[in-house]
Symmetry: C2
Subunit: 221 residues, 2 copies
DNA sequence: TAGATTGTTAATCGATTAACAATC
DNA sequence: TAGATTGTTAATCGATTAACAATC
């Protein structure tokens, strides 16, 4: 395929969106699409699409465009949707349980094999077809099963310590929902911080901008 | 304060993170901080911090740095943490209920005043101190209460239609957790798409990169 | 005053867009 | 072949970083 690691972050973050749109087109039985048509659907430039795709190789054909199914498959392969990375989830509170049940890990390169929580009352409770284990079992579980990805739905205060332990146990990637900015500290560890609070604050800011605009418009009128 | 609307998106998306770090410093009773110290904590450049802050005005003092409490307050004001935008949540499935209980809306410029779901079995159930109403009551509720922000935790297929209706009812901003790419179509509407699936796919890609690197390292050794 | 650190301008870097020759 | 559309190079744009004069 292509020299991974050399691809810019801006491109990578657009790939899942391409994958999603191509999946839709595929479902609608669209066979081919040009960069221009796709650009209109996705509200970006045709140039950018061609530029992005060519980071990974020439998937199109001059005069024709792109075959939807082929392109969908190729991007899927690039993202790793077929990888089945062993995944554990830590913190089975409201958010953790919702993530476990709501997210389709299997279609996104992940295979959820364990859920853990400090609260003994939750031990044994079944979520997403998995019985919750107590946090104290993590070490043993990791040594036996070697999970690659950990989903962290735990309070900020514990995040760094638990992440540290997991790295020592061989975990290579974190999907971090805690308020703590994981990223740092280790080389060769992948991190996706999902800061829902930050997202809501950004929305508050933008809402503000819009409401102020409306107000000044009214005053002018 | 400052000419909102003219600020670049890259800057705005960094503001909540500044706010978070300054909140921490405040809790630790740190009185002043220089752009260089803050840059080290946040792993970005001092230049960028000064550049970002100066979009909104000179909050610092030459030779001294920034007063933590003052800067925290100013950024809070810019973001609108004190706005209490009336907010409704639509879709009280696993994710919707988790968001309602897990997110502190009040400290992020929002005030959650209603939760709605199509499932009649959920009507009357209390979540985050609010009784769930049936979706059919949305119109009446909006006319009476004029919510500004809507949190969408509904299936992709319904998103566009419901968003359309809400816009007609005066909603000005969407926090969108559905798989559908809201953004578009309307002017003067703020949207934050939270595509958890895309985030996980990005992580799968990066995990892939790391695992491949490790493999080639091993082969070399 | 001397030292420190900002606010701000200028330089660099990277990402996006435009253009066009290659080619199906 | 003629028309369409890619792959790719060059131009533009914006964001980040560096530098430094202003000033507390």
């Amino acid at each position: 395929m292509a020299k991974h690691g050399s691809i810019s972050n801006s491109v990578i973050k657009r790939l899942p969106r391409y994958y999603r749109f191509l999946g839709e087109l595929l479902k609608d039985n669209i066979v081919r699409i040009s960069s221009r048509e796709l650009s209109q659907k996705m509200k970006l430039t045709a140039s950018q699409i061609r530029q992005d795709l060519n980071c990974f190789g020439g998937f199109g054909q001059q005069g024709y465009g792109y075959n939807v199914e082929e392109l969908h498959n190729e991007i899927g392969k690039i993202l790793g949707v077929d990888k089945h990375f062993k995944t554990i989830l830590i913190g089975a509170g409201n958010l953790g349980r919702a993530i476990a049940t709501h997210i389709n890990f299997e279609t996104r390169g992940c295979h959820l094999i364990g859920i853990f929580d400090v609260n003994p009352a939750l031990t044994g409770v079944e979520v997403a077809g998995i019985r919750i284990s107590h946090t104290s079992d993590i070490t043993k579980f990791c040594k036996e099963n070697q999970p690659v990805i950990a989903v962290l739905c735990i309070p900020k205060a514990n995040t760094q310590r638990i992440a540290d332990e997991l790295v020592k146990l061989g975990v290579k990637a974190f999907w971090n929902f805690s308020h703590y900015d994981l990223s740092i500290d280790y080389e060769n560890i992948a991190v996706e911080n999902v800061h829902l609070g930050d997202s809501l604050l950004t929305l508050a800011y933008n809402t503000n901008v819009i409401c102020e605009e409306n107000d000044t418009d009214k005053n002018k009128a």
